[in-house]
Symmetry: C3
Subunit: 469 residues, 3 copies
């Protein structure tokens, strides 16, 4: 049997083998495949679009920033040193690329493989499978293309048919790159999202300094609770002025609290000393989620909560390589008790949207779908991180739809640092939603005309509505 | 594409697209579709059958009592006030109906939609999809039909081919309606089930008064532990005399205890003061489950346990609208440690059946199937509440069968307040069981003649046996 | 419809009905069905192969040792006394066999049924389904065959095409049977595995005596921490000399600890007094896992961890019949926090492999796949015990592959006490892996030439590599 694939990606990829379901899936997908991409939550850099410089070589582009890739290589005994992780200027990008290529078989059956093959074929015209044998071919072809004008960030943004792209930004960020994009006159909607973890989570590296810096930026006394709150409110307004419509909160748990004002102020004073214990820090984070909800009720920014990761689980790797290197591990997460204080206060507010994400899939049927199927403020974010995958997406629809329906979900988030993977990720999401709908139609649980409407809603309308775009 | 469906429900609904599996599912279903309905656990009202009055208008019939419906509408921002929830005489039932009809698309992909379409077509002959455009047509057609004699409760009972129907009743209920049905000479088997939460759960509204009232009814001194226990035993006997074969217990957790008699008495005294703390209340409930098990060993009533809901999670909605309005949310539930005290005492008793339900599907493979696959007293109740759905039922069979087999399960419970949904719910359960069996047959994991036998057992025999009917 | 099956097992058993997927599954399975069996983890007895005596009658062979079988019978009210469980010489094996045969329908839809039918047909040539009607036929046919030379243990080992078979052995075992096999000159690779629970778990019956006996065997003073550790190291070396490549640890939880040496010594002294409390025992077990990891780093034995069973849940049955009688029940299991101490110390070691198993499937996507997809030392064991079943194996692949890939898994373990079920169990595993791969190929998520490679790896190569065979 030949080891060459005729194509890396197939037109019917992800569609069920059954001809009836495949036929329906194809028809539904034909309706939505051309819709613009709305990316309301991700980790691309505004600077790319402000500066519009070419992307560097294949290793720097694909391997180095993508912890999905190098955590898998590391899990099989390949050292991060050999992959030049954390190195600014790669010493031998071709060597890094070869290591990756020789081990590409490790990604069989993973979404990473599917995203990469999509980019290799659709963007770079490659049709032979990546392997040790084709490593140099890939390196050369990709390197050459990256130098062409149509591979600059702005050209790719247009080519990807993106309608809105949100970045994720610290309250300490000047948003100068966002301003520069606006000033440049380029017609694109690239907007910031307000991610205040660095000034809200006492466990965040440099928390006290970050709070002080927030005071300097805003001209508020962030040594006091009132000043700190005003500083956050002002910063949200600054983000909003540049198009921001949403906040994002990455907490270890979903715990919320609704303390009396004096207790909240005291909790703030405690964490600011740097001597708070784990319980006090957790209580402060919990209170801050409720404060953020109050601000959202007032300024209309949509609130997103992403809890449940044990960050930097591998102590040695963290000491050598820092955050976000593939060693964050999900933990069991409670929402029902944890969110009760916040929901008791704001759960029935008309002008409030709280989008919940999870890394603990057991909460889909047990907690999240029942909560979202009742509270008017709640919506369910798409399957996230480890679950942003064909099986993960199918489990989400299978487990969430019967209790929460389609209309308490919010379409897709690509959540990516890898700009080139955006079309591939949305492609997977649209296909899997069509697969789920095709099954409902084939089993006479939904009429096809309704499925067409739902497919449009899942690919385009719900995300616009939920994120107020 | 037309927005009109030719029919609301299809003859092959829920069957897999694959022609081999669909063929087998059809054959199996043909064997069981005509079997009588046994409904051993539900929330219909004996008064309906005692009085045999016509059901009121469509809004009062379908929308107002069904928290599956109005929680979904509420989750999308429709106020309970506009839906006239909790109102005795609807001011504008047609307006309520229209709101529901206009938002019927929210139920796409949910079992509620499937149950409703079944009733609309099978009972009312409606064939166009419910929507804003057809709202008035529906309202008029249904209103007219409800006035006809063949839509009275007793006529529907016969038409639905029900063999046994159990209600759920408080120990404080006189069961006068049940007596009246018997006295009327109408040949139907409508029986009570003994649900003592109101006199067993110290967190139940009015607990102390309820216990006192239980004393008055039974002529026992329910201020003493011995009198309280005797009062419960007497009431069980009273229920049994009217055909009751089962008890039902809705506890926050599955915790059981097996205290020495003196400690149990002291726990009772403590909760009766009204000053017990959360731990003391939980311990009392735990002890009462073991007391109920002892009574079951003695009087032969089958025991049902439904744990794991955080009741009335939405504080504001509870204050305005009370219990059972769609704001009960499941929580993670332990059975292995929790049931140990009860099982250590009665787990090997010959004359004891304890049927377990769950809202935490993670316990299917981890706890419930292994427990039921060992203890002779244990049986698994069908997928419950949020999981009474096509996907929920498939997950149940897929996750439970390999460890517990089919014969440690007990057929279907419709558990419904909506009398008109009973045939639709049993229809879904029978179809999904046939789908699961068809897959086993198609994959040569079970011969078709055996599958026919199992289909009969799941639809009819197991429920009769488990509930001792 | 006839109640006779033409055959007990079908050539296409477990393959999907869909003709495209079935075709691919057949082709993949044809590539691997003939590969030798490697069984790196199980509970067969070396004595069988050392002595090579005939197996006794069908009841003694199939029913008595197999808690999968008699727990199901017990769950349906059949007494363990009637099944002669725990009896050395069966009084009436034919009667036990008949009870089993009459209740064989209880196993419909279970893997036990599939394994048994495989053995009945493939080994004994039986083609009519087991039932009350065929009980005597089965008893007679099987009894006769068992007397033939080709049914002796060594002949079956060869017939089953086994390449390596690991037993599971206590450090107190002399391994005389293993030595005898080697001395006999019979060409078979039957090796011990080091399972130290009896001298490491203070809750193990006879723990203090076992530790003392370990001292006698090794000539070390196991009353001291240093002597105890040396005794364990010596015993591992003794096992290694007889071909052992792996250790196995069955703990109630996955908790690990990394205490300073003085604290570890003190913990040992405490548990050796016999007066340690539950917390102290758990801490000692936790520390011992990290000690075992250190030894593995040094001697290269692969470490296996099987946590999460509540042992001997049924108190009465335990008192009458002892351990391993089908009353062990899984509980919720945490890995992320529990393994942190061990992983912080040895997680990045090159010469260390820790294979994790679980009875809590919720950890597949949430904890185990993310951990194994990062740490170089971690591999995921196959679905275990209750999950060693077609649905259990499919859930494993569906939930693990997208995050951990195929190459962080280790092929199949049959883990069985029932020697005759070994080919059937490996047959199920190979088929289900081909089913999963066939779906990936049919949905254009993997090319077929790659799937062939993966099928070989899952059936043969990965287990050899992971267990260093």
């Amino acid at each position: 049997m030949s080891t060459r694939a005729m194509n890396l990606i197939h037109n019917d990829r992800l569609f069920p083998a059954d001809p009836v379901m495949r036929g329906i899936a194809r028809r539904l997908h034909a309706e939505v495949r051309g819709l613009p991409i709305i990316s309301p939550h991700g980790h691309t850099q505004a600077a790319w679009f402000a500066n519009n410089q070419p992307f560097p070589d294949p290793a720097k582009l694909f391997v180095q920033p993508d912890h999905y890739i190098f955590r898998m290589l590391y899990s099989q005994g390949i050292s991060l040193e050999d992959l030049e992780i954390g190195v600014d200027e790669l010493k031998d990008p071709r060597r890094v690329w070869r290591i990756f290529a020789e081990n590409y078989y490790l990604f069989r059956g993973t979404p990473t493989r599917m995203w990469l093959d999509y980019a290799f074929q659709e963007l770079f015209g490659l049709e032979e499978r990546l392997s040790g044998a084709t490593a140099d071919l890939y390196f050369d072809v990709i390197s050459e293309r990256l130098r062409a004008p149509e591979f600059r960030p702005r050209a790719l943004y247009d080519r990807f048919h993106i309608e809105v792209l949100a970045t994720t930004d610290s309250p300490l960020d000047s948003l100068a790159d966002h301003q520069a994009i606006r000033d440049s006159g380029w017609k694109a909607r690239i907007i910031p999202a307000f991610r205040p973890d660095s000034v809200v989570d006492p466990d965040f590296a440099g928390f006290e300094k970050n709070v002080a810096k927030l005071g300097q930026i805003t001209g508020e006394d962030t040594g006091s609770w009132q000043g700190y709150i005003r500083a956050l409110e002002k910063t949200r307004a600054r983000f909003k002025a540049l198009g921001c419509t949403a906040t994002d909160h990455g907490h270890p748990t979903a715990l919320t609290a609704d303390l009396p004002a004096a207790d909240a102020a005291r909790a703030f004073e405690t964490v600011l000393t740097g001597h708070a214990d784990a319980r006090q820090k957790e209580l402060f984070r919990a209170q801050m989620l409720t404060e953020m909800a109050r601000m959202s009720v007032e300024d209309g920014l949509v609130m997103q909560l992403h809890p449940g990761a044990y960050r930097n689980h591998n102590r040695k790797v963290y000491e050598l390589y820092g955050r976000d290197v593939g060693a964050d591990i999900p933990v069991a997460t409670d929402y029902v008790h944890a969110l009760h204080p916040l929901l008791a206060r704001f759960g029935n507010e008309k002008n409030f949207t709280l989008i919940l994400f999870t890394l603990d899939e057991t909460t889909y049927t047990r907690e999240l779908a029942p909560l979202a199927g009742h509270y008017p403020c709640l919506r369910l974010g798409p399957p996230w991180w480890f679950h942003d995958s064909p099986e993960g997406m199918l489990r989400f629809r299978e487990q969430v739809t019967e209790t929460a329906g389609f209309y308490n979900t919010v379409g897709f988030n690509d959540d990516t640092r890898a700009f080139l993977s955006i079309p591939a990720r949305h492609d997977v999401a649209r296909r899997i939603d069509c697969v789920w709908l095709a099954r409902l139609v084939a089993e006479h649980r939904l009429d096809e005309d309704e499925a067409v409407e739902v497919a449009h809603d899942l690919a385009y309308n719900l995300v616009r509505k939920a994120y107020r775009l």
